[in-house]
């Protein structure tokens, strides 16, 4: 399947992807209206080191431990391989947050449910907005073996 990959060699640590992610999932069409004066809760997070920066979001593992761990059946893997979350089913136990080895699942803004990257198929963008706006092609969306 096509997945989001990050090449730390080209990641500049500008954090633009976090804002593009928050905008994509805001449901609004104007970034200023969506993000001005708000604390953002993006599903992608840039880890900053001294010289290395790395954007992290869900890897859509082929054997996703989060899905196994979910006590409410909110997390599932579709036939296309995308690991999705049904927030109506999520009970907010945050077990998935604890078990994800990449730290790619986090509590949503209200803290009562978990949230994770669904490759922007769950919003109007249709394809990953972080990839589209990455300044340096550090985040790519492609098929790899």
């Amino acid at each position: 399947m096509k997945r989001i990959y990050v090449n730390e060699k080209w990641c500049l640590g500008c954090h633009l992807c976090e804002y593009e992610c928050a905008f994509a999932n805001s449901g609004l069409t104007d970034m200023v209206k969506a993000l001005k004066g708000k604390v953002i809760h993006p599903k992608i997070r840039v880890e900053d080191g001294e010289e290395v920066h790395f954007a992290v979001n869900c890897r859509h593992c082929s054997d996703p431990i989060c899905v196994h761990s979910c006590i409410a059946g909110a997390l599932s893997q579709g036939a296309d391989g995308v690991v999705g979350i049904d927030t109506d089913k999520c009970v907010g136990c945050l077990t998935c947050v604890l078990v994800c080895p990449y730290g790619a699942i986090m509590p949503a803004a209200d803290g009562h449910v978990a949230q994770k990257c669904m490759l922007c198929i769950d919003n109007v963008c249709g394809e990953p907005n972080c990839v589209k706006y990455c300044l340096n092609n550090a985040i790519v969306y492609e098929e790899r073996d």
């Binding site: 060699k9 080209w10 500049l12 640590g13 500008c14 954090h15 633009l16 976090e18 804002y19 593009e20 905008f23 970034m31 200023v32 993000l35 001005k36 004066g37 010289e51 706006y133 300044l135 340096n136 092609n137 550090a138």
Partner: protein, 502 residues
């Protein structure tokens, strides 16, 4: 006491649009932007801004713009703001003023005073989408007389030639003055386009030997990085006698830019200033030049063309005549608007002549002396568009070097502060965190796009003139007409005025 100088440009932030994402702050190596956590607002210090537009381009809500300050001294037709500020800066520091990139002064641009011909009725134009339109060409020494043996076979042996698919090459920019990623972008683009890039005088990084077939290596007065493999790898060797941006002076790469990698490539100690002398200390005459030309040919088995590059100066036609007789295969002329990573401001802005005039005079002189076929001519020094390429070729060039246009394609915004080494676009810098901003996967494609687009336009204009081979346009000055030029300018350019018939 230093006199305060008001910044020339101001950063203007649209507070209604700024979402405080701090991307501008993270992307500015000059530390212009900062976040005031107490007020929850972004701030900008315009005094630090070099107007490179990085922040303007990366701002996701387009909340930023840079404007020219309307602060002014009492208006004076003779003493402009910049002139006065430069006096203050020199009185403050006692130093020579440094600048980068090409001469920005408002001298006449002769490209913009020449118009191109088109066919009507009697010699119909050609549609390049339907008929062959050849932009392939060869650079090197030609034979003016064709000799055949008794069986009619050619007796002439052609000197080594460079084959180009497009009449455009990337001009000399050294590793040191520009980054590793900029060099990789140029090398990969040259390979894909079937043309050449030029190492400049900084040697060839070991990773780029694989692009040798598309590489012109330079031998300059500092002789940095010159050794056997360097010469053997290249497709051609260029002897740099001068540079359009700073004719008559050498180069100076400050020690801070001599990183471990640059040091290895240039074969000089790390952290020590790299000085290129003004003259080659072994060249004081055409005879001396001939010796270096033949030394380089001898060292490479007479398999590679040798280019001699000079700056366009007052007496360049006579100098070119000497070079054509020195054994060189190709002559490169660099006009006074050509770029540089650093040059004394006064030299950049006041020394040399326009490439248009130099090129026309050199081509004319070599024709008059019957030695035009001894060398191919490369013109550079502010070729800004495909129209400039067409005009240069019609004035007598075989092909054109582009430098500034190539850097623009890579993201350069002509802020002209390369000499500070803090290029926000990852081009004119050696700082690893800045160099990585130029991803060669993106950069080389943008270069390929640019040259491909220009080549399409060149084919369209050639078709319009009824010419189907770029070599048939060379020196075809009847395809040009002057507009707004004096009689002297017309005669130097060797063209007629618009409206005058053949």
């Amino acid at each position: 006491m230093n006199i305060y100088i008001q910044p020339e440009y101001e950063v203007v932030r649209d507070r209604d649009r700024c979402i405080g994402c701090r991307v501008c702050e993270r992307q500015c190596a000059n530390l212009v932007h900062s976040y005031d956590a107490e007020a929850g607002k972004m701030q900008a210090d315009s005094a630090l801004c070099v107007n490179c537009h990085r922040c303007v381009c990366v701002c996701p809500t387009h909340a930023l713009k840079i404007v020219k300050s309307d602060d002014t001294y009492k208006v004076n037709g003779n003493w402009g703001n910049q002139t006065i500020n430069e006096v203050y800066r020199q009185a403050n520091s006692g130093g020579v003023l440094l600048s980068s990139m090409g001469n920005p002064k408002e001298y006449p641009v002769f490209w913009d005073k020449m118009l191109i011909n088109a066919s009507q009725v009697t010699n119909p134009p050609i549609d390049p989408l339907r008929e062959p339109m050849e932009t392939r060409l060869w650079l090197g020494k030609r034979t003016s007389v064709i000799e055949r043996d008794e069986r009619g076979k050619l007796k002439n042996k052609l000197s080594p030639q460079l084959e180009l698919k497009v009449p455009i090459l990337f001009s000399a920019m050294s590793y040191g003055s520009i980054s590793y990623n900029a060099h990789e972008s140029l090398a990969r683009a040259a390979q894909e386009l079937g043309t050449f890039y030029n190492t400049g005088e900084g040697g060839l990084h070991k990773d780029f030997y694989k692009y040798g077939k598309n590489t012109i290596v330079q031998v300059a007065s500092g002789r940095f990085g010159v050794y056997k493999d360097y010469l053997d790898t290249a497709a051609a060797i260029e002897i740099k006698m001068g540079q359009g941006a700073k004719p008559g002076i050498g180069g100076h790469l400050p020690g801070e830019k001599i990183s471990a990698d640059v040091s290895e490539t240039r074969m000089i100690p790390q952290g020590v200033d790299a000085i290129s002398p003004a003259p080659h200390h072994d060249i004081y005459s055409i005879e001396d030049l001939r010796q270096l030309v033949y030394s380089l040919k001898e060292a490479t088995d007479y398999k590679k063309p040798v280019i001699v590059k000079i700056a366009a100066v007052h007496n360049c036609a006579a100098i070119a005549s000497g070079i054509a007789r020195s054994g060189a295969d190709i002559l490169a002329i660099d006009g006074y608007r050509g770029g540089t990573g650093a040059a004394p401001t006064r030299i950049r802005d006041n020394v040399g002549i326009p490439i248009e005039l130099a090129l026309a005079q050199v081509d004319q002189r070599l024709r008059e002396e019957g030695i035009r076929d001894e060398v191919s001519i490369l013109a550079g020094g502010s070729i800004r568009s495909s129209a400039d390429v067409i005009k240069a070729i019609a004035l007598g060039a075989d092909a054109c070097y582009i430098g500034t246009a190539a850097l623009l394609a890579l993201g350069c915004h002509l802020c002209r502060t390369c000499h500070t080494g803090k290029c926000n676009w990852g081009i004119a810098t050696q700082r690893p965190d800045l160099v990585k901003r130029l991803n060669p996967d993106i950069g080389y494609k943008r270069l390929v796009n640019l040259v491909t687009a220009w080549n399409h336009e060149i084919q369209e204009m050639m078709g319009g003139m009824g010419i189907n081979s770029i070599e048939a346009l060379r020196g075809n000055r009847l395809m040009l007409r002057g507009i707004g030029l004096t009689d002297t300018e017309l005669s130097v350019l060797g063209i007629k005025y618009a409206g005058e018939s053949m």
